[in-house]
Amino acid sequence: MAGTYTELVMEHFKNPKNMGQMEDADGKGEVGNASCGDVMTVYIKVKGDRVADIKFQTFGCVAAVATSSMVTELAKGKTLDEAMKITRADVAEKLGGLPPIKMHCSNLAADALHAAIEDYRKKASE
């Protein structure tokens, strides 16, 4: 089982970074659905134009959890514009690659981050 994932993927899965709910989030992005076996929620706290704090919650496989953890690490401290540029491929690459069959769930992490930023921007413009 562990053999199909890189050590870094396993490390993020076993000890995920920035995991948990954020009560007072400025932006929240939820993607996927439980029927497909993968749901991700990313919460952001924005200060100035930067991602000051970020948290995630994930229901899903090893790849889904590990990519969630990695995307929060990549986005933390970045400007919103920089964070919007983090791609699905960046996340997979930073984890040392993912099994091709797992790309569908791995893509969710970047999507959830982007959704959280869009949510923040929408709220801010209201």
Partner: protein
């Protein structure tokens, strides 16, 4: 608790019994003959194959002449279903329909479906929410057109035991043949082909402490099926190809041990399995999948809401526990197993399922270790799960049946 290696995936495959290995070894090196050869090396191999045939026959109360050796469960299922369908279609009855349950192993399900391309009609009889087939449901699928119906004796995921004898009666009333896939049942419950009244029964050695890549098909005396391999006409013309002598010897030895030990193994496995189910049922939102009573003594299949199966299996693997799940997050559109969905579960519920299957080698220490580690792993995953958070807040989880999702 110190780390242990705990194998609870005996429905996937089992450890080969040391006594079986010892029985096999001489047939690789000293007694390597071809059973079809006339010389003494051949005779020696032939005798070994025939002894194994008796051992397998005895385990299921059949005659040795009713046993054909194959390469395993998949081949036995294919030979039974395709062989019976072809035979029925070529005699004057021209029966052209096949039936199976909706919880069959792919070796049966896909074989039946594939026959549609050869002009057969195919229908699936549906189990109830307990995973049990009602005879009234089967009856509506069987007619004078039915060539063969296939209903498994025990399910590989949830361990439910089907009313095979009753289904066989329905088949015979319509002149149809009845096949049962007993791959998971052998070595776990007593099997008597006379009581089951089936025409064809599949078994696989590696599920009861024999080697992989060898199995058998029981074909009731007088039942006509056609071979699926062309070749030299081995196994009474039904399965061409030089016999896998060491494998067959191993299957025979495993069958002999299973027959001798079954009456001790059943209550022991059942007691440990019950301990496992009671322990895990104490977790919140944890449920047993499939009937509690009509079930193999070695199977516990639980679902823990708010958790995804692959993640759970991986955490358990890190703790030394081998188990499996009905959630396969590997295809583009992730679907839970057809067996769990057949019970009427929503996809998201089925994704949190864990299959734990014991063997006669399972111990109380192993079960207690699992009972300590599984709840911890479930809690770890629930702590990061937005689905669990929703359940805790009393919110509804939408079950998106088709499309509408982002990836």
């Amino acid at each position: 608790m110190t780390r242990m290696d705990v194998y609870l995936d005996n429905s996937a495959t089992t450890k080969v019994d040391q006594k079986v290995v010892e029985a096999m070894l001489p047939y690789f090196t000293e007694r390597f003959g071809n059973p079809s050869s006339i010389h003494s090396k051949g005779v020696e191999a032939r005798e070994a194959v025939e002894r194994a045939r008796e051992q397998v026959a005895k385990l299921i109360n059949a005659k040795p002449s009713e046993i054909v050796f194959t390469s395993g469960g998949t081949e036995s299922d294919n030979l039974a279903i395709i062989g019976a369908a072809k035979a029925a279609n070529s005699d004057e009855s021209k029966r052209n329909a096949v039936v199976c349950s909706n919880v069959e192993h792919p070796a049966v399900l896909n074989t039946c479906k594939d026959l549609v391309a050869s002009g057969f009609s195919f229908s699936e009889a549906k189990v109830n929410s307990e995973g049990i087939l009602k005879t009234s449901e089967v009856q509506s699928h069987i007619s004078k057109q039915t060539a063969v119906a296939s209903v498994m004796l025990a399910n590989n995921e949830i361990g439910t035991i089907q009313p095979v004898a009753a289904v066989a009666k329905l088949c015979h009333e319509q002149g149809a043949l009845m096949h049962t896939d007993a791959v998971q049942a052998v070595g776990k419950i007593p099997i008597d082909v006379k009581k089951l009244n089936v025409d064809l029964l599949s078994l696989a050695s590696h599920k009861f402490h024999g080697p992989k890549g060898v199995g058998a098909l029981f074909i009731r005396e007088g039942v006509k099926i056609k071979p699926i391999f062309g070749g030299g006409g081995h196994e009474r013309g039904l399965r061409s190809g030089t016999e896998n002598v060491p494998g067959i010897v191993g299957l025979g030895a495993a069958a002999k041990i299973a027959a001798e030990d079954l009456s001790n193994d059943i209550p022991r496995m059942a007691a440990l399995r019950n301990r496992l189910i009671s322990g895990l049922s104490g977790l919140s939102r944890a449920f047993l999948n499939g009937s509690r009573d009509q079930r193999l003594p070695n199977n516990a299949n639980m679902r823990f809401l708010g958790v995804e199966g692959e993640a759970l299996i991986t955490l358990l693997d890190e703790e030394g526990i081998c188990a499996s799940t009905g959630s396969a997050c590997s295809s583009k559109k992730l679907r839970a197993s057809h067996v769990l969905l057949a019970l009427g579960l929503a996809d998201w519920e089925a994704h949190g399922s864990l299959r734990l299957t014991l063997s006669r080698f399972s111990t109380k220490d192993e079960i207690d270790y699992a009972l300590e580690k599984i709840p911890k792993a479930v809690t770890t995953l629930r702590r990061m799960s937005p689905v669990w958070a929703k359940l805790e807040r009393g919110e509804k989880i939408e079950d998106v049946k088709d499309g509408g999702h982002i990836h």
